[in-house]
Symmetry: C2
Subunit: 389 residues, 2 copies
Amino acid sequence: MDPLNAFVPGRRCEIAGAANGPLQGLTFAVKDLIDVAGWPTGGGNPDWERANPVPVRHAWVVERLLSAGASIIGKTATDEVSLGILGENPFTGTPLNPAAPDRVPGGSSSGSASAVAGGVCDFALGTDTGGSVRVPSSFSGLFGIRPTHGRLDFRGITVQAPTSDTVGWMARDPAVFAAVGETLFGEPLPDALPTRLLVATDAFAFADPAVSEALMPLVDRLADIVGARAEITLAPQGLSVWQAAQRCLQSSESLRTFAPWLDQYNPRMQFGVARNLALASLITDADRNKAALMREEARARLRLLLPPGTILCLPTTPFPAPVLGQSVSALAFPRERITCLACLGGLTGSPQVNLPGATVDGAPVGLSIVGPRGSDTALLAVARAFMDE
Amino acid sequence: MDPLNAFVPGRRCEIAGAANGPLQGLTFAVKDLIDVAGWPTGGGNPDWERANPVPVRHAWVVERLLSAGASIIGKTATDEVSLGILGENPFTGTPLNPAAPDRVPGGSSSGSASAVAGGVCDFALGTDTGGSVRVPSSFSGLFGIRPTHGRLDFRGITVQAPTSDTVGWMARDPAVFAAVGETLFGEPLPDALPTRLLVATDAFAFADPAVSEALMPLVDRLADIVGARAEITLAPQGLSVWQAAQRCLQSSESLRTFAPWLDQYNPRMQFGVARNLALASLITDADRNKAALMREEARARLRLLLPPGTILCLPTTPFPAPVLGQSVSALAFPRERITCLACLGGLTGSPQVNLPGATVDGAPVGLSIVGPRGSDTALLAVARAFMDE
């Protein structure tokens, strides 16, 4: 039984990890966009599952975790082919948000967040192209990481938008969260923590005032750990300008990825997902060029802001999870607002970690820390220190 | 069992007609967009069925036919909410085309055509907004009528585009075909047949040469029945110009009809159907005004061409049914070509009847006759005389 509705029906595959290893005794769930040998990769859509052969090989990340001793307990629900940020899926059902049962779990790594927050496994793998690990982590009160783009081998994982796609994970316990990182990044957490914290005032101002207020004690705690603190503007061009650039690039790449499948299989999809793909066909080369230049500006901005030893923080989401069952139009603007804060991951490729610990109206909302490219283990070290504080 | 896959699974409702009446002993099937009291109106989409209450009253046409003695044997498959012309539906399955089993049945009244062509009932109800009775009739070798727009009561039938929507039927036997018309139109067939036949040379030239050639003996037979024969141009502005106008108006109205459902239910749909609805949101008022003017031109053209006693003929479809299982892109242009010949129904509101009797490569293709508004029973009389010939 799966009272959380976190797992894809019929896909509670149990695969034991190696007898020895640093993750021995830990259990994990795998988003159903990541290959587990011998089990279909369903991608949250029956016509995706039908179109793709059952994988004969584990994805690289799955193989690494099994070799390190962790055991798989099942494959988890996802928004259709990763195209969603809220976690509602009519084909496999919407997973429960255990931290806020009347609200969406967040997506697209919805089932992974639900399984971890519900306590049925120690950690879970997800993918994050435009926010799909960070947003459900924020909404469900979990640690979650989007690694540096390109750092972890993406073999065996369903592509959406290659210049933004990453594979990450979520956990309740910062020690587990860090241990998975040591295994996958292949290096121990550094002893020295970053020494300077930047607070992205434009991002805090963009979030609901109640969210910024709820996160302030977490920012203070971070500043205590790190030392120096300064306020900065993250996106001088505007968060919405960055978001538009990411949306343009990600939508274009998504359509290019899925076009052969759409054409050959004419798949059943939620109207809202299909509509976004259809409208992506209207994006021009001029739009893409402009967006690609803005991406360079965003990358330049982060290089400028984040020399080694500096991290920045911002709200992961501008509000806690929306309540379940709202109409497409009611959720359209909230989706856009979420991606205004989440866009920097895909746009800049920088690593980002969600720290839990705040609530608004009883529902979780997370604080994100972002470091320079390659600083993944430093962020995990901050997360561990943050909880020890 | 339903080897034709014509009926919606679980919806073989059997409702006996009145003990006496002109249609006594005849059986019919009802497209699952037309209400039968006590049975869901599924509309070929699980989320349409979920969104709509089970009707407590028969549609007007159903009530009339039952009162006249005909009996229902089931509800038949349709393209999703009538949005399709080929009959492929992944939710309920694609009905067999008994006349050409390797080809699509045509749609959206796909199951109705399949059931009648497969011999499991005497006639079947369908709806025709942009060709949904005429096209499957052509593809399956059946008599089929799209009545004068507005002539038959549309109560209890799922609306698509109100200025084009009609309810019609299909039959194998011209006597049955005519008898249903006498019941629904409430008048006997006229004794006097039309006296002048116009041959729409632009429409014949637009069809595949093999189709025009195969239809010529039918045209000759028609001319023998009717008497005088003349060649005319149907659409001086161009069939494709008429088609663009109909497409614009029908797409706009469809989106307006279904927008509340799309918004509230975010339904699962085939990508191709969802895409057309999404792209309809780009149509402007200026586009609509231009299209509405072209509709007036088309209506004026038919008023000019069709004084009382005159009918015109054209190929119903430019080719026989496409083979099954083609990609979305492979079928895109064929769909447009089909609607270039079918558009005059929705655009002008004139009644149109498909006459079977020709094949190309072993697959049926039909000849259409079109009369002035209100000449429905005259067209049925021609159809009956045509088969007696």
